[in-house]
Symmetry: C2
Subunit: 421 residues, 2 copies
């Protein structure tokens, strides 16, 4: 079954907003075994919107239309769908009541143009709004000239669109595809090996999966979010799909081991914070090359304060010498990284310290070229304190080098925590 | 003149890569007075690529095709264009030599499939490659069935695409549009007022510009990059276009004053670092709510080390008390922000200190709700040291609150530096 995507809005064509909805839909349609072969952006022009809808329905079984459901005269998706269906729009009094109530419950008077959002093409089914004011629409097209299919209309606001996709569109599409199947997916987040390296190690599993066809496996390179391995299984219900998926997940876990740092929405930051919380340890970071990015990522996790005490950005060498106790001399070295890790524990009173020193470029420093990273860690040990360091080479330009340094340093700490309990 | 965009690549449809090229092109085409009314993503399938090219050329005067120029069998843009033009591909020996030389100069042997990138449709003009290995193409279409127009092919790698657009495609489009006109644009970056507030203050200028038509003015809200006001002028040559633009830029500068923090590619970080460098002052930051993001942004600027000494992320309250000399008690206060700014100067030996304390949420802290931000600054003064603070309310969720706090804090320092010399 082919499901194409039409994103509506002049601001998308002008680059004022980047259309991420169609990418998200493409990804999630694929997870459901549905094909999205063409995705189009069009401006707020009724003739062009209608033209694209008709052409796209001629090629695909369904089209998901994002945007153009707001209350202004620029919001033309409802009118365009009615034209394509060859029907009139009518006021849905239930939807109008919901919108009125939304305003009155906030103590505001509803501007009259908001009732445009309660206009519905005859024959369409409402997808109830739970967050915004515009409902979504499921609109079957069955014209005398032979044009058939389904148009789904959803708001352009990403979280509203995603909610309606999960709640109404995906189930409706699977029903129309004659599949009672439920989809379950599992994302295994990895770090430490390239996509081609993972592909090689998982070659046997991939070959078998190609034969079996269910579940499917995909790699998703996601920068400092890690390299994701995603399994997607279909089954009669969630229990069945999970049962199909489980043994394959286990095989992949057996092969990749602790290269898998997290599952689904877990991030490297949240995993490291959890590992430390389990041990009752607090953390501080000393950063030079990353200049605060490690601390910035850690504190993006709500509740980080139970573990994270703080950090020292020792950009100038004298700050490393004076505050962290690094011995004067070159600062892009293993010794400096280790001294920084110990120093930040002492200064901030934490149990564990992580330190990064390196060269982001464009210039070299201390005889080291751009891309060089030293990570130092200091942890409590039975004999007092254990200090280790590693030297890594990061690819990419200044920004990418710094971002990959963040996840690499946290991964070094993670592996050490797992290895030494 | 209408110029649509076709982005080629199955990874775009699957959401593995988000298509930012078409947005960028739409923005820059508009700056040149060219219309982009439809932008399409299609996968690596020769029939569908050809189908979209033909249909799009039927509606637009030109189509810019991004991606599909690599060396593998999945890279089908060259073949598709040749089919649409109704011509054969031939090996361009000059391009082949350039590619061979690129490999040999890196001491590597060229895999034979790289010669695919030297295949050129008959009648096409080469856009020389300066960074990657694939040249771009300018391909006039003039078929017996009446289909005419131009197909431009560029690599999908953003910096290669942008370079070719500026260097070859924009001039070629303007020549074909019968415009000798050169476009000059100026982006004025502002902070401190909403888009509607700016719109109100610039209402008179905007009304006049609507009448005059040249230059044009646009607002671009860009998160923690600031709210951009962009003027775009056309003229017979760059000197003429600049002369058209200059008086309008001056009028806007007169109205907005120091609300404009930078011009074109200047960022708030680079501007603040420059202001400090002019005064020979060094900087240190103390961060609580932003957890390292201010330091991370400052150190993203190459050469930040001439001014930026480092920072202290005092996430735990005890770090504020012990290392920064904040008086024990509530830490989301003006007093705490000022004490942190002074403390970080003393600790890191800097002339200037900036401090941020606030509540990112979801929970409240010290009786302050999510969105509250206190910024403290400490600067050298004739009488020793001047300390000030400000209280702000940030909108948005945890991530947005933290990002807007970064630019707001640096803007507070910037305005103070400008006001007190």
């Amino acid at each position: 079954m082919r499901v194409d995507v039409l994103a509506v809005g002049t601001e998308l064509l002008l680059g004022q907003i980047i259309d991420t909805n169609s990418s998200w839909l493409g990804e999630h349609l694929a997870m459901h075994g549905l094909h999205s072969l063409s995705q189009v952006k069009v401006g707020d022009n009724i003739d062009r919107i209608v033209g694209h809808m008709e052409r796209m329905l001629g090629e695909a079984d369904a089209v998901i239309v994002c945007g153009g459901l707001g209350p202004t005269h620029d919001d033309l998706t409802r009118e365009a769908i009615a034209r394509v269906m060859g029907v009139d729009l009518h006021l849905d009094t239930d939807v109008a009541d919901v919108i009125r109530h939304l305003f009155s419950s906030r103590g505001r008077t509803m501007p009259e143009n908001n009732l445009r959002q309660a206009m519905v093409p005859a024959g369409a089914t409402i997808i109830e709004q739970t967050r915004g004011t515009a409902p979504g629409l499921i609109c079957p097209v069955d014209r005398v000239d032979g044009l058939t299919g389904v148009l789904y209309a959803v708001p352009g606001v990403p979280h509203e669109m995603r909610d309606m996709f999960h709640r109404a569109i995906a189930p409706d599409l699977l029903r129309r595809a004659g599949r009672s199947a439920t989809i379950v997916s599992r994302t295994l987040r990895t770090w430490g090996e390239s996509e081609s390296g993972l592909d090689e190690r998982l070659r046997g599993v991939i070959t078998e999966l190609d034969d079996v066809g269910n579940p499917t496996l995909a790699f998703l390179a996601s920068g400092w979010e890690g390299l994701k391995v995603r399994l997607t299984a279909a089954g009669d219900d969630a229990g069945h799909a999970s049962a199909v998926l489980a043994p394959w997940e286990q095989r992949i876990r057996d092969i990749l081991g602790d290269q898998i740092f997290g599952t689904d929405e877990q991030t490297m930051e949240s995993v490291v914070l959890d590992l430390l919380a389990d041990r009752g340890w607090t953390l501080a970071v000393a950063e030079s090359v990353t200049g605060g990015l490690v601390a910035g990522r850690l504190t993006a996790v709500p509740g980080a304060s139970r573990v994270f005490r703080g950090g020292l950005v020792s950009y100038a060498s004298e700050v490393k010498f004076d505050l962290l106790g690094v011995a004067p001399g070159p600062v892009v070295t293993a010794d400096a990284a280790e001294a920084m890790a110990v120093g930040v524990c002492d200064r901030l009173g934490s149990d564990v310290g992580v330190a990064l020193t390196g060269v982001a470029g464009p210039e070299s420093q201390d005889g080291e070229g751009p891309g060089t990273l030293f990570v130092g860690i200091a942890l409590p040990d039975t004999e007092g304190r254990r200090v280790r360091s590693i030297r890594l080479r990061m690819p990419g330009d200044r920004d990418m080098m710094r971002q990959l340094s963040v996840i690499s340093a946290l991964d070094f700490l993670r592996r050490d925590l797992l290895a030494h309990g």
